[in-house]
Symmetry: C2
Subunit: 534 residues, 2 copies
């Protein structure tokens, strides 16, 4: 049933007409800041700087109860077919990315899926041990020191963001790179800087038919052949069982991904596992899974004030549907999380950028916002001007850590850089909320800009796993609230089809310079000509 049919929706709509004014004197009291905190596992969520009060929280709790949100999440984890739209042709699949990390309990929630993932983990462990103990080496007996992952979308953004986040924990002498874009310069840039002889190429594609990945694999194989190296001794794959890439003649090893794991939710499957295991070693990869598994369990709490993913989902819906904000900025105060927002942009916008209900009917309310952001403090010197004094309001989610990852830090003016980083994060949250009056209109800050803070002790493999699960679960909960199927992506099909048509024109004009595609596809032909590509 649609969000707007529940009793709590009416209550929240009414509360949304006169939300808390954070800039009003006396609103943002120390008591308020101390009271609106949720501590779950590794993370503290500070949400006193949201435009909420106890009544709104009661309304959000009522909404969660009325919609059976935690029950829906549990059904998903147990293997319900949730990737579906009633009455329409659709993917009709289970949604079990959580099974990838539900490997620490004696009674997992979806035993068959967890067993399949455990089998892959066992294969990964053997593979990593063989790399470590010298059993798996190149033709000259040298160890493989570099891995290049070729994949796009879910096979790229999550693993890349997490590898970046955890680079400080990388094994000595291991280096990893990614190739994703069909732009041939992407592959060329990566390949020019590495020694192919000591490199493993990990090709990641569930179907084994992704255009970009096939082209980049072929380009890379040709580079191997040019250098007199045998690709089948360097290429491995992560793919569906029985796909064209599940072939021992072409791949040294193949690891499997399953149809119940969507690309954008696949970072804890072998899609992330192989490359992160190569970088971090098996034990640290398991720490990462462990962090995710623990946060998965925390996400099952019925009390929204004890469940960060659920509370964040509801606060997002409050800002989107009741305060009518169009975008959410995710701003990590950690340079290691440079690419994490890009991953979440994918995970969130591809999941919840939808306008059809799970019953196949057009929706009459807003669904997922635009997600964007860059790390602080860098962003403070870039787009924060817009957050503070622009004419539209962006909802902000800050992420911070009390300690830094590496040993170096420096004290200037009696405080460390890490202290300065954290102080800036907290200050921005307050500044957005309270604003400032001034005689100079250009130095006036309206304030009343809602935001929240996620805080943990340190960005480690375990914390990273928890943070990933937290956002995945938030996104899943929001899909339930908006009554959409968060697990398909039909919106990518039309562009693919039109690209094929336009490529056909290009092919024909190359073989016959007199060819005019005007009749077949007048729009495609006109745009090709106007762009001077033919």
């Amino acid at each position: 049933m649609n969000l707007d049919t529940f009793p709590a929706y009416a209550t929240l709509t009414s509360l949304g007409t006169s939300p808390e004014d954070l800039s009003a004197p006396g609103t943002l009291t120390p008591e308020r800041i101390a009271s609106y905190v949720c501590r779950t596992g590794e993370f503290d969520l500070l949400y006193g700087t949201e435009r909420i009060n106890d009544q709104v929280l009661e309304g959000l709790q009522a909404l969660a109860n009325e919609m059976n949100l935690t029950e829906q999440l549990n059904a998903m984890k147990l293997g319900a077919v949730m990737n579906t739209i009633a009455g329409c042709e659709s993917e009709n699949r289970r949604v079990l990315h959580t099974s990838c990390r539900d490997v620490f309990h004696t009674s997992p929630e979806a035993p068959d899926a967890t067993q399949e993932n455990k089998d892959e983990l066992a294969k990964l462990q053997v593979f990593l041990e063989e790399l470590q103990n010298g059993k798996l080496v190149n033709h000259a007996g040298k160890p493989f020191t570099t891995m290049v992952q070729i994949g796009i979308g879910g096979s790229d953004l999550g693993p890349r963001a997490i590898a970046n986040a955890l680079a400080a924990y990388g094994l000595e002498q291991r280096r990893i790179h990614f190739i994703s874009n069909i732009d041939p310069d992407d592959a060329a840039t990566v390949l020019q800087d590495i020694d192919l002889a000591t490199t493993l190429i990990n090709v990641v594609s569930k179907s084994g038919t992704t255009l970009e990945t096939l082209s980049n694999e072929e380009l890379t194989r040709q580079e191997y052949l040019k250098q007199g190296l045998d690709p089948s001794k360097h290429f491995i794959s992560v793919t569906g069982k029985g796909s064209p890439k599940d072939n021992p003649e072409s791949y040294l090893r193949s690891f499997y991904m399953f149809d119940y794991i969507g690309g954008r939710f696949s970072a804890t499957s072998m899609v992330g596992g192989v490359v992160l295991g190569f970088l971090l070693g098996f034990a640290q990869f398991m720490d990462f899974l462990h962090g995710a598994a623990e946060m998965d369990r925390n996400g099952e709490q019925k009390n929204i004030r004890e469940n960060i993913p659920l509370l964040m989902a509801l606060l997002g819906v409050w800002n989107r549907n009741f305060l009518h904000l169009e975008s959410t900025a995710i701003l990590p105060y950690s340079q290691a999380l440079l690419r994490f927002t890009a991953h979440l942009q994918q995970c969130d916008m591809e999941s919840n950028g939808k306008s059809i209900s799970r019953q196949g009917k057009p929706l009459t309310y807003q669904t997922g916002p635009v997600i964007w952001g860059e790390p602080g403090t860098n962003g403070q010197h870039a787009f924060y001007q817009h957050l503070h004094q622009g004419t539209s309001t962006t909802h902000v989610e800050f992420i911070g850590f009390r300690k830094n990852q590496r040993k170096q830090d420096i004290t200037t003016q009696d405080t460390s850089s890490q202290d300065k980083l954290c102080a800036n994060l907290l200050a921005q949250s307050l500044a957005l909320a309270t604003g400032q009056t001034s005689d100079n209109p250009n130095r006036t800050f309206p304030g009343n800009k809602p935001n929240l803070i996620l805080m943990a002790d340190k960005l480690t493999p375990y914390t990273m796993g928890a943070l990933l699960s937290l956002y995945e679960t938030k996104i899943v909960y929001q899909g339930f609230i908006w009554n959409i199927n968060s697990f398909d992506q039909e919106g990518v099909q039309l562009g693919k089809k039109l690209a094929t048509d336009i490529l056909d024109h290009l092919k024909k004009v190359k073989s016959d310079p007199d060819f005019s595609g005007q009749k077949d596809d007048p729009q495609g032909w006109a745009i090709l000509k106007s762009a001077r590509l033919v």
Copy 2:
């Protein structure tokens, strides 16, 4: 005078109530696509996929005329004090970033400023020659092969984005890196991978007092000392004349930036010049300036259909103020432009995220949108779902090139990767505009999503300069239209002030564990405690 006081505003408001429906059969004709093209220098702008018609273009032209937009731009280039707000304390400066590249004409528009910039270019040329011919080497007589730029905001994002874009043209054996974030892990990550002995550290700060840059400089100097190296033989600076960093005892060389060049508009000054010159050599850096200079002149055309920067500015305002769109995605189909959108996000949002007129009065209409984006085709596998089937509409600006930069490309299924890249770009533009009907509601695309395409032959230093100028001028024009001061950034001050207060608390609690800051700053203290930082 405010935008909404001009006659053309009323005309456009009326036209905005029934804009062109791109998804209606018969709207997006080949003739329309061919007719709405503007060719300026290196770039073609295709805008048939915007929700405009001839009437709207006439309205936008009328607006440009009524507001004297090109006259305002010329006044800026001649040295008018445009960084100001009437009746308020403000920066009161000229705005002359264009003078940095107005070095190819015998009669520059602002001769004194151009002369100052020519003097810096001459210093840069000598410096680069000395690096090349071995006159400037390290203590052991070895050449400097690496440069690390320490800077943040405008001293980071533009130079970094451009260096990334032009890496394919880099001199052999020259490597560059950037350190920006106060997060100490940022510096540690960069410094661990380089040989300090053959590295130049370029510290970039106009005032010489930027917190992040000072801390990172100090951290880096200590690393030099730890390794027994003399920092004064490795550190150079780009700074204001007479700043603390203009000091030959601490810096091998100093290059100057001037108060009439804002940080986010400084990529063509020495802020970009030193690091780009090191990477590309002097001649290619001059090509980059030349491309910018030519586009600067193109941006002066009065006829909006012959002036890409002005037309893009007006189309942006059409989408923002008359069609009420909240965000603009800038999507380059070029992996080399990976960080260009982040630079534009800064340049645009810090310039035009304002709500006070140039007369110091609150505005009653929307100003700059949220700017975001990632390269295609990667984005197609990430957030394009939201663009096609989400509930809110994002304005899209595509950027593409007919040829790739590097030699490698590959033909699969009879087309090259570069062909596929371009075909995808054009297909996405059409798909967003036309949409698609279907019996399956989940496979229905509403279409009618406005977008434009910027197309050039190849991303070279010259084209990159033109592209940068194009966007800088677009942003400046939009500021004129919204009647805001695009050149200050008062919105960053409040966060800085509160961060200082919070840091003071941290300092005190470190020297006195019983200290409670409750009295001094109850909010700051409460948030510090809730985040468990004290």
